[in-house]
Structure formats: structure tokens, C-alpha cells
Amino acid sequence: MAAGVAAWLPFARAAAIGWMPVANCPMPLAPTEKNKRQDELIILNVSGRRFQTWRTTLERYPDTLLGSTEKEFFFNEDTKEYFFDRDPEVFRCILNFYRTGKLHYPRYECISAYDEELAFYGILPEIIGDCCYEEYKDRKRENAERLMDDNDSENNQEGSMPSLSFRQTMWRAFENPHTSTLALVFYYVTGFFIAVSVITNVVETVPCGTVPGNKELPCGERYAVAFFCLDTACVMIFTVEYLLRLFAAPSRYRFIRSVMSIIDVVAIMPYYIGLVMTNNEDVSGAFVTLRVFRVFRIFKFSRHSQGLRILGYTLKSCASELGFLLFSLTMAIIIFATVMFYAEKGSSASKFTSIPASFWYTIVTMTTLGYGDMVPKTIAGKIFGSICSLSGVLVIALPVPVIVSNFSRIYHQNQRADKRRAQKKARLARIRVAKTGSSNAYLHSKRNGLLNEALELTGSTEEEQHMTKGTSLIESQHHHLLHCLEKTTVSTNTIPPPRPGLCAWHGLPMDKVPTECSEVALGQAHPVPGVCQRGWF
């Protein structure tokens, strides 16, 4: 039953008197109210900010911390209030939940802090009201993605993973060129050869010089052998690279299906097909067309450029917008082509010979290219032509911002991921330093502890105070804990027995030796010269 409705219970019970005269049989007894407490104000002190509410308000939700007897654990006898050492800002929302029955999520609050507070007070996040639920879920999803990103990058960049097989090292070298110098070299070499290959393809077609016979030859035919050698070299490198990747891939089937490997195959196939088919004259036309595929080598650059990858990813994620753009363009083209065709049918020597022929005019006009090879001559044609170009601008401009915003979002996400990775590295380094610092502190404190005992025995108190002021209570308790662990785990057999009757280190009779003596002397050097007269034998 909702909390607010509980307030109406007296009314409902009172209204039940309406049934009484009609009833045929006696009614059951009413429940007696045991321990009927007067409703009292209780004070909730959250980090100094005092909130007050009725006890019954909190008891509306008995399965939460504040509604159950769990809050008694936080009761402060001296001040007669419940003290919680938590965030008072979030507590405001939580108390409002008790008052109004609706839990709201403040937008300025960090999602994980909010979740923690909810968990502390025993409130399920699912009861967040409809007004704030969407926002909450969005933020939560974002956070989860970020955490997943972090985990992924963590896994990818594991420090020195021991015992990787040769295959695995190779695959890692291929995927992250920065792991080893050899990988980096390989990376740059392949990049260089891709560039060489692409430039070769381009330069091949440039006319360079004339051959006697007044015919301009493209460079490709003039220096055919040189270009062929270059091409062969590039293709060999690409083939070797592809085979190596295939060998190193953890899942070959998945590798073969991946986009990059398809690009690789398409890049080198024309060469091999060309090798096989040079002698056959019939298909040489097809062979020439196959050369076009060599340009796909340029896509191999996407392994080397993150920006290119982001672009590809954006296009993939905006597939629906692109599809819509294409569809609406097609519709508009067909409509306008038809209209233009019929409008221009009357004019003589019109270039609009058929509707498909008008397609060309429509596309050129809608994209505002306006080559001018096809121009309407009738008035109606001109009117419709202008409408066509106006609408073309609109139709193209609509989906473009969506694609742009997608690209921007993905690009910034990538930037953030890189920044986070760098920050994480710095953070881990700092943690490592802190850890070594604390273990050093522990060793230091042990030495000081010994020193204190030595000083106690020798009776000088000022130096003792000077030694202990460096450690706080928590630190000393922590060190004591580590000490106990040491004592538990260190075996006592390795200690050579002291000289009978006297502790060598302290020069004292055995019954007066502090217990730490024998254990500490195991690995510690003599801490302070001059305190003890004897060394350890």
C-alpha cells in the first residue's frame, strides 16, 4: 500500500460503518493498538545538517534503513538524535522520498555517489519516479559504458603478461605497434609500402614524355618493367603481412571475416589474377578493370590512422540516416525527373529525351552542382527546375547534422578514452609509490618501536617521544597488524639461539629481553649506532 494512502486509513476504517447495518453476522474484533506511541518528531543529523520529521513518516517504508530498527544503530544517546556521517545533499532527496512517496534524481549529482547513498539507506533505485527515471538510466548506462571502456583498455594494455606464446606475442605486436620496436618497424614499413603502392598506381597513368610516333604514353607503359617490379615488391610485402596476420590471429575464421582482412585480400588479388591471366586476350579488358581494385590499397591506411577508423565507424553507426537520405533523394529524383520530362516534352531539341535521362539533370540540380549540360527551356520547366534545386538543398541538409553530431560524439569519446588511459597510468604509478611508501613507513616504525623499547630500558624519555610523534594512531595500529602477520608467518626455526643467559643484542639477561628482539634481528641492520654495545653474532 502506498505510503500516502496510509494516511487515509482512519477514514476508510470509519467509513466501514456503512456496512455494519447490512451485515448479517457479527464482525471480528478490532485489533488493539499496543504501544500506541504519540507521533513524535525525530531529529536526523546528517553531517551536521539537522533534518526533522515525524516518526510515522519514516515508518512508511519499513524495509529501508530509516524505516526499520536499523537506524537505532546510529542513535546518539547524548544528543538524542540519529547521526549519519553521509552527504546531506543526497539525504534531502531521500527524505523527500519518505515524505512524498516519490524518489527523485537530482541532475547535478554524480550517479555513482547517488547509487552509493541509495544502497546505504536501503532504497532500491527502481522506485525512482517517472520524472527522473529516464535521466537516471541514461546516466547509469553512460557510466557503465565508461567503466567497460576502462576495463577493456586495461585488458588490452596489461603490463608485462608473462608466458605468452609466440603466436600471441605476434598478434599483440600487430594490434598494438607500440609494444615493441620490431612491431613499430613493421608498422612503419607497411605504411611506407602502402604509400608507395598508391603513388605508383597514380603516377602510372600520368603521361610522361613522347615516344617517336607522336603518341603520348603514360608512364606506366613507358617504364613498364620498373612499375612492375615496384608492384611486385609491394604485393609481396602485403602478402607476407597478410599471411603473418592470418597465422597470428587467435581466431582465424573471425579474422578472415573482418573488414580489414577483406580489404587486404582485395588489394592483392588483382595482381595475382593478373599474373594468371596475362596471356588470355579475351579477358584482358576485364583485367584492366581489375586494376581499379588496386586503389583499395589506400584503405589499408585505416590501420595506421585512427581518424579514418572513426570516420568509418561513424558511417556505420549512421547507416540509418544515410539510408534515409538515399531513399528520400531517390524519391525526389524520380518525382522531379518525371515532372521535368513532361514539362520539357514540348520544347524542340530538348535534351530530356526520357525520364531516366532526366535523372541526370535532377541529380545535378538537387545537389546544386549545375553542370549546365542539360538545361530546361520552357517556362514550366524552369519553374519546376527551380523548385527542384530548392528542395534538393533541403533534402540533403536534413540528415547531415545527425551524421556530423554522431561523428563528433564518437571522436570526443575516443579522445576521452585516450585521456582516461593516460590518467589511469599516472594514477597507478602514484598508487605504486604510495604502497612502497607505506611499506617503508612500516619498516621505519619497526625500527622506531625497537628503539623505543631500547630507550625505555635505558630510561631516556625525551628521545622516545621524539621517535613516536611521527606515527598516528591509525598508522601504529596498521603497523601492529602487519607485525602480527609477520609473526604468524615467519617460521621461528631460522633464528639461531642466542648466547645462553644473555641476549647478545641488548646485552641484557634473557628474562628482560623484549620479545621483538630475536625476530627483528633476523633481517634488520643495526638501526642506531651507539645504543647497543654489542653486535649480533
Binding site: 500500500m1 502506498a2 500516502g4 494512502v5 494516511a7 487515509w8 486509513l9 482512519p10 477514514f11 476508510a12 476504517r13 470509519a14 467509513a15 466501514a16 460503518i17 456503512g18 456496512w19 455494519m20 447495518p21 447490512v22 451485515a23 448479517n24 453476522c25 457479527p26 464482525m27 474484533l29 478490532a30 493498538e33 504519540q38 507521533d39 515524505r99
Partner: protein
């Protein structure tokens, strides 16, 4: 005919306005006609002392009642919809809307369509702290739907059906279809002394006072607050 013409004129005017806005490119704004003045109902109850004098509750009890009331209805009045909602939350297994309707009419003594805090307190005062006579009077008022001073068989049947509807289908044993009608027959046999087909207030009170069960059950809900 004139209404039709007026409507036509209004439509044409709206269309002309729309065209004008389209051509001049003005942004879409809410037309004045659409803005209905939402009359915000704010009702403040009478002073605490006055209510205390008029009803049989103590100050503290009135405070508790009002806090709960105001929490649920910040505007200060309850309308029938809220009544029905509240009742349906208490009795989820059946359909309590009819009974809530009757109950609302019983609480709404001045018949203005809303129950203010005073009405609420007055009703509760009778139900919880009133004499048996007052309670029976109130129950009679509830059953007498058209408030003419007589309970007819039809009115009783409506009330009975409403009560049975509230119960829903979750009774054991499963009630038959004409259970309300039979119940009404039993009721009239008991209450209608002169067998004239209607029950007056005196007959009602007399018969109830003779029935021990009813007397006892009237005392049941006294310590509700």
C-alpha cells in the same frame, strides 16, 4: 442553423489566421482560445479552535488528520476521483468505485462536488465519536441515495451491489449472482416493520437498536485515530 454558420465562420477565421502565420513565418504560439483559465482551487479550513468546538476531536487529533489530508490533497479539497482512487487502493480485489461514489455523496453534505476538510472532519467525528443514534443516522443517510427520507428496495439493491462489487470475485465460497438481491430481501424483512416496501429512518434506527450484532459492530472503529 445559426450555430452551424457561427462555427463555419470560426473555422474560416482560424484557417485564415493559420495561412497568415504560415506566410509571415511567425512562430507557433498558443492561441488565446486554447488557454483555459485553470481555476486553482485553494481551500483553507476554518480555525483549529472552531473545528475543535464543532467536532468531537482533540486538537492533536485534528492536527494529525489535517496533516494527512493536506499531504494527499494540497489544494484543500477532495473530489470524487480522489475518493475513488483512495478506496480502490484499499480494496484492490474488487471494483469499489460505486461504493466510493455513494460514500462521497454522504460526506459531501453541501453537495458542491468536493469534500473540504470541514466536511471530512464532521463526517469522521460522527463516525468515530458520535452516539449510536448519530451513527445510525449517518448510515441511513448513506443508504438513502436520493435523500428523500426513505430507503427503497432499488436504493438498497444499488448499495448492496456496490458492497458486493467491492468484494470482487475473491470470496469463499463463490457468491452467486443474485446474492445481493437475496441480501436485500433479508434486510428488508428485518427492517421494514410495516411492510410498505420502504424503510424510514425511525424503522431503521429501531430495528438496528434491537439487533445486538449491529450494536456491537457500531462500537468497533472507535479508536481509529
Amino acid at each position: 442553423m445559426s450555430g452551424c454558420r457561427k462555427r463555419c465562420k470560426r473555422e474560416i477565421l482560424k484557417f485564415a489566421q493559420y495561412l497568415l502565420r504560415l506566410i509571415t513565418g511567425s512562430l507557433h504560439t498558443d492561441t488565446v482560445e486554447d488557454e483555459m483559465e485553470m481555476a486553482t482551487v485553494r481551500h483553507r479550513p476554518e480555525a483549529l479552535e472552531l473545528l475543535e468546538a464543532q467536532s468531537k476531536f482533540t486538537k492533536k487529533e485534528l492536527q494529525i488528520l489535517y496533516r494527512g489530508f493536506k499531504n494527499e490533497c494540497p489544494s484543500g479539497v477532495v473530489n470524487e476521483e480522489t475518493f475513488k482512487e483512495i478506496y480502490s487502493q484499499f480494496f484492490p480485489q474488487g471494483d469499489s468505485t460505486t461504493y466510493a461514489h455513494f460514500l462521497f455523496n454522504a460526506f459531501d453534505t453541501d453537495h458542491n462536488g468536493s469534500v473540504s476538510f470541514e466536511d471530512f472532519v464532521m463526517g469522521l467525528s460522527i463516525l468515530l465519536r458520535g452516539t449510536v443514534q448519530e451513527k445510525l443516522n449517518w448510515a441511513f443517510n448513506l443508504y438513502d441515495i436520493n435523500k428523500d427520507g426513505y430507503i427503497t428496495k432499488e436504493e438498497m439493491l444499488d448499495i448492496m451491489k456496490a458492497i458486493y462489487d467491492m468484494m470482487g470475485k475473491c470470496t469463499y465460497p463463490v457468491l452467486k449472482e443474485d446474492a445481493p438481491r437475496q441480501h436485500v430481501e433479508t434486510f428488508f424483512q428485518k427492517m421494514d416493520k410495516n411492510k410498505d416496501g420502504v424503510v424510514t429512518i425511525d424503522e431503521f434506527i429501531e430495528s438496528c437498536q434491537k439487533d445486538e450484532n449491529i450494536m456491537r459492530s457500531m462500537q468497533l472503529f472507535e479508536n481509529v485515530i
